[in-house]
């Protein structure tokens, strides 16, 4: 990078691309988070009283996370082609473990005395789940969601390798063109906006957490 001013100039020239690629990047993260929350919280609820099922679910999600990210994006190309779907699937598989593990932990940490009194007062299984277990586990679950979202925001930059777009395009541009002019400006742009996007998501989740956590356990 020649200077800071050349970087600003680059960003000015590419403003339209920055906006559209940031939005595309954000869309991946949001859709993946939504799908992963539904799956992981759902599975967490199903396995909360089943030690074997719990270990299997956590084990599978942990294996997903150990697959090299590059491979995970490429592995699905033969099945679903290039672009959106290999990106979505890879990110989804990564996003599961933090949410699942925190859901299981959060539900397990609900005091047995609280559950016993809920049962003793005539709350049914579903009422105990929705009115007692999930509200009490919620701060732990949302902490898992936060880790998951920050992680997928970073990893989503790899989407560019499977023609998935996103801020990774700026980074790949550098790899292709270095040391031609503006190639260094490009990688900085991709990196900085990925980090800014992550911080924005972090702030959003912190806000949601504040609003949705019951006052008595804040």
């Amino acid at each position: 990078m020649e200077s800071l001013s050349s970087w600003f100039e680059f960003m000015g020239d590419r403003a339209d691309d920055i906006v559209s690629l940031t939005l595309q990047h954000a869309r991946y993260v949001a859709l993946v988070a939504l799908a992963a929350i539904i799956t992981a919280v759902g599975v967490g609820i199903l396995v909360r009283h089943r030690p074997v099922g719990r270990e299997i679910a956590l084990g599978v999600a942990a294996v997903f996370l150990t697959i090299p990210s590059l491979a995970l994006f490429v592995l699905f190309i033969p099945i679903v082609g290039l672009g959106f779907w290999p990106t979505f699937i890879a990110l989804y598989m990564y996003a599961l473990l933090p949410i699942l593990r925190n859901t299981v932990t959060g539900l397990n940490e609900v005091s047995p005395a609280v559950l016993e009194s809920a049962k003793g007062m005539g709350m049914g299984r579903a009422q105990r789940l929705w009115r007692v277990e999930l509200p009490l586990a919620w701060p732990v679950i949302i902490a898992g969601i936060r880790v998951s979202v920050l992680m997928t925001t970073g990893i989503a930059a790899i989407a560019t390798l499977v023609a998935g777009g996103g801020l990774g395009d700026f980074i790949k541009n550098t790899v292709n063109r270095y040391p031609l002019p503006t190639s260094v400006e490009s990688v900085w742009t991709g990196t900085v906006f990925t980090v800014l996007l992550a911080l924005a998501f972090d702030a959003l989740i912190a806000l949601v957490r504040r609003v949705t956590t019951p006052a008595g356990i804040r």
């Binding site: 005091s111 005395a113 609280v114 049962k119 003793g120 007062m121 005539g122 709350m123 009422q127 019951p214």
Partner: protein, 402 residues
């Protein structure tokens, strides 16, 4: 259900609100039953205590009644209805439930906690909030202050009061209490026990109360079931009769030594005649106070009451002759107060702590009622021993006749 069982059920419904009919519980994977063939009646409006050594199945027995533990065999009859196979959630909403760890919902306000069962029963909002305020008043907590607080803001004693209020939420006829005061410091426990007895005197609920503490059993129980292993009843009777005539060696061992001291748990301060003390108020002139003290030669101290009539300080003649200290700061602070619901055992313990040989008795608002002295307790002990001897002799005579 066969007709034979039906007729037996009806035979019990006239006096018993809860009837356990040959109930057993064998936990999966174990051979020995936790509860073995237990038949038990809980009569209406009484506190029945289940007491026994740990592992005797008393908590399991309690949980069989609201079916938080399902029986392996036998029938549970509740208010004349066989509830062994009805929807357990509906059954539990008709029965108040208090456990040792209380289990308040930390994410819900005190009002929401107390309103749990009314809400499950679909009461409308205004009815629930009126009931919540009524219950908070009942357990001595100001609704304006506590309604919107959260459980984490309460002391242990307050949390247990809210636990009791919550169990009374939908005004059930029956309360099940599993060591409700077990996790609380002794002084607060005493106060809570007294408050609860005051409440029960008004409410006349049918209560099954589990404890491992024989002193608590004697203090709280209208009747006591002493259980041995597998929830076999060793003796079921009034506390007076159990103390006077233990059924067997097991009961004797469980009662332990000090039957006289235990007997003091049966008598309450409010039942005996209280002594009088010379009493002054902050406005009483000192010379008048001195002549008052001299006119009662048995007493070395005057009792100073505050403006509300509550005992405040012990004042002796030297304090009265020293005008440099105002009466409100002279002498010794009254540390110990007993309530009419305290047992003589409680009162004796307070006296031994205070080393005054006497303790102030106050009403629920803390106002002075009288004094109880060591000699009074000695007199009661003699009377009780005499009564117990007579009672035992009568029982022996009855046995010989039959």
């Amino acid at each position: 259900m066969s007709t034979k069982e039906n007729s037996r059920v009806e035979a019990h419904t006239s006096e018993a609100l809860i009837h356990l009919d040959r109930v057993s519980k064998i936990y999966p994977g174990t051979e020995q039953p936790a509860v073995d063939d237990l038949t038990l009646d809980v009569p209406e409006g009484e506190i029945l205590i289940l007491v026994g050594p740990s592992g005797c199945g008393k908590s399991t027995t309690l949980r069989l009644i609201n079916r938080t533990i399902e029986p392996t065999s036998g029938r549970i009859i509740f208010e004349g209805e066989d509830v062994t196979d009805v929807n357990p959630d509906h059954l539990r909403r008709r029965i108040g439930y208090v456990i040792q760890q209380i289990g308040l919902f930390p994410h819900r306000t005190i009002a929401e906690n107390i309103g749990t069962v009314p809400q499950l029963l679909g009461w409308d909002k205004s009815r629930i909030s009126a009931r919540v305020d009524e219950l908070l008043e009942m357990v001595g907590m100001e609704p304006e202050i506590y309604r919107d607080r959260y459980p984490k803001e309460l002391s242990g004693g307050q949390a247990q009061r809210v636990g009791v209020a919550r169990a009374l939420g939908a005004d059930p006829d029956v309360l099940l209490m599993d060591e409700p005061f077990g996790a609380i410091d002794p002084i607060t426990r005493d106060r809570l026990q007294n408050e609860f007895l005051r409440l029960q005197a008004e409410l006349r609920k049918t209560i099954v109360f589990v404890t491992h503490d024989i002193d608590e059993a004697i203090k709280m129980g209208d009747r006591i079931a002493i259980l041995r292993a597998e929830s076999h009843i060793a003796q079921l009777d009034t506390p007076e009769r159990i103390l006077a005539q233990p059924a067997d060696e097991f009961v004797e061992d469980f009662l332990g030594g000090g039957a006289t001291l235990k007997g003091l748990n049966l008598r309450r301060v409010g039942e005996i005649e209280l002594g009088r003390l010379p009493v002054i108020e902050p406005t009483t002139p000192r010379d008048q106070a001195i002549s008052l003290l001299r006119s009662s030669p048995d007493d070395d101290f005057l009792l100073l009451l505050d403006g509300e009539g509550r005992p405040s300080r012990w004042i002796d003649e030297a304090n009265l002759n020293d005008p440099s200290t105002p009466l409100e700061r002279a002498g010794l602070t009254v540390m110990v107060r007993v309530e009419p619901e305290d047992t003589l055992a409680d009162a004796l313990e307070y006296m031994l702590q205070s080393a005054h040989g006497g303790a102030c008795v106050v009403d629920a608002r803390g106002r002075y009622q009288g004094v109880i002295r060591l000699e009074t307790i000695m007199r009661e002990i003699n009377a009780m021993q005499e009564a117990a001897r007579r009672h035992a002799a009568e029982l022996r005579a009855q046995e010989e006749q039959s």
